[in-house]
Symmetry: C2
Subunit: 348 residues, 2 copies
DNA sequence: GATAAAAGTTTACGCGCGTAAAGTTTTTGT
DNA sequence: ACAAAAACTTTACGCGCGTAAACTTTTATC
């Protein structure tokens, strides 16, 4: 019995497979581009042949001849941040469900890498790109140029006027809820944030904090944590210790700009033996924003304001598919901001 | 001034670019495959032209004509787990440094997705693949077949005899150190693990625990947490509460199979008001394995046994490059296990 | 400065597939 | 049952690049 007689023989190309299936190559090609575009009977014959011989079209040859591929680029600033890992996971699964090939990239917090990624993404001829930029350190010129060439939807952090659309959470919604809750149930909070936040959302949150506090008739107070990079927990911890030791201004209610800072901050509180929470015996309340996947498991569990992960990822996907159907360009750029939801836990 | 006179004009293919650079296409092709393979003077001319016209070879045409591409596949079982995010980050950066194109995949904990990934990876003609399987639920037949076709190195979790090599941490080293430390400085621990662990490492750790305890003359005790999937913190928390309430056997020293379970477990302890640590006032000690990126920030900070991330990722990369140079096949399959390091923090 | 070696040029073919054009067969509607 | 429409077959070309072969030019060696 020679190899050709067995099921596992290797097929070189579509020509050979077409011969085996008894259908002409152009029709087989048509089938692979859209199985519904061929007659049910021929489709059955092709799929029968497919069962036995497990052939797949050469993706490189296919993509060479398409103007656009079936690829979807997904770029996040830092994948080791569980927040991005989680949102990337949702988006990726959605793309797969819809028959696209998501390709995931992480800028790893580095500007040059972000540029490289866009560069190689451009030559990949993706049908669309979902892009969460690094933010402050991003090269706007490069990104702008990229977005002119490749159908791109920004998410998480916005760059004014760049990309076909933006989808993200409404930072004002986060802060207004946290500040309102904290003041209503206790004292107005001091804001704990980084001096040089990597993400533009942090700046928006600071502004929202200030305006919210002023609106409520309180004096905004901000503690700026030193440190750079994406090791937010570490910064929250170290600067949290500094904060606790020097006790600047009001110190019984702290609002961290994001959960990762809060995770570090809570760790510092624990180490200093400061009871955190809303109980009678507690001397400090801590809240934050994002609803990081691990915030349920801090000690005490973190009161925070949650992204509407599902809404955001749904909308991102919806806008992407819409963009692809529109031929890669929208009439006008739209921004979609989703309100956040207060999540009451034990820390405040 | 027409478009051709400007710097930003688009170049269709290598033919056009070669004409602009004044070098023949075959030589330009040679340059892109290995810049060092052409004379310095011609290289300079090509790179000068490259500065002005920013041309890049069509990756699909390139890859179609290569037997193997410059792609490196990286597959992890669950990218939203910071452990894998972190190791993937290291590996990815190494590949980029060395001039390869890493492509990252996450099986998202799903067997079918793992199979799909291997399937599309196969048709990508990667030079090599670094693969951390799901483990228990993986389809061994499919993986075995894949590894016969594509040069693959397994990491993190081993499948006997599959792949060209395995690189990972030595589970016995983890457990022997934790058990030894806990017994030496206090009482022998009870093991807290999942009933149906997703990862084969968990099984090895259980065996190591039992044999280590017996060697030391103690009675092994195991608490098996109910629950499936990759939400380990949640399982650690819920079953931690159950554990604390029913107090099975010795309960003053708990060794969690991994840090993520411990994060949940510590959260449960906090909620029950149980002081954890090695201090006089503490009634419970908790330790675990992995040195998860967040274990420094638990309350109390988690005493654990750390993977040697650097050693493992270095070795994985080293083996991969070696494999590629060897033409995708090793004489014999080797397994490289790295010892872990005890990290003393506050929880035990 | 002669000569061999190295590098570059020209020409040509092949990779695997998308897709157009012209002709043939099958299906659909009445 | 017949005409029109739809689907399929055959033939052919193009995509952008790798690469081999034969030839020419530049560089290294003594």
């Amino acid at each position: 019995m020679d190899a050709r007689a067995m099921g596992g023989n290797k097929i070189r190309n579509m020509e050979e497979f077409a011969a085996l299936s008894g259908i002409s190559r152009p029709t087989v090609s048509k089938y692979f581009n859209d199985p519904g575009s061929v007659r049910a009977s021929t489709r059955a014959r092709i799929e029968a042949a497919l069962e036995e011989h497990d052939y797949r079209p050469n993706i490189y040859a296919v993509n060479q001849n398409r103007r656009l591929t079936k690829n979807i680029g997904i770029v996040v600033p830092y994948l080791a941040d569980p927040f991005f890992a989680e949102i990337a996971r949702k988006i990726e699964l959605r793309c797969i469900e819809a028959g696209w090939s998501p390709i995931l990239f992480s800028s790893h917090g580095e500007k040059d890498l972000e540029i490289d990624i866009l560069d190689s993404l451009r030559s990949m001829k993706p049908a669309g790109v979902l892009f969460a930029p690094l933010g402050r350190i991003s090269d706007r010129i490069v990104i702008e140029k990229f977005c002119r060439d490749v159908p791109t939807i920004l998410f998480d952090s916005n760059l004014d006027g760049i990309g076909e659309a933006f989808v993200g959470s409404d930072n004002f919604s986060f802060v207004s809820q946290s500040v309102e809750y904290l003041t209503r149930t206790g004292n107005p909070p001091i804001l704990f944030e980084m001096v040089r936040p990597a993400n533009p959302n942090a700046n928006k949150r600071r502004k929202a904090y200030v305006s919210m506090m002023e609106r409520l008739g309180f004096d905004p107070q901000i503690f700026q944590a030193e440190g750079d990079g994406w090791g937010f927990e570490e910064i929250g911890y170290k600067e949290g210790l500094r904060f606790l030791d020097q006790k600047p201004g009001r110190t019984d209610t702290v609002l961290c700009s994001n959960d990762r800072l809060a995770i570090g901050f809570l760790s510092a509180c624990f180490e200093r033996g400061i009871p955190v929470g809303r109980g009678e015996t507690c001397t400090l309340r801590v809240a934050a924003h994002d609803d990081h996947p691990f915030s349920r498991f801090t000690c005490p569990s973190l009161t925070t304001v949650a992204h509407d992960y599902d809404q955001v990822s749904n909308k991102v996907i919806e806008m992407l598919f819409q963009l692809i159907e529109s031929g890669g360009h929208f009439e006008s750029r739209s921004e979609h901001l989703y309100p956040a939801k207060l999540v009451l836990r034990s820390s405040a």
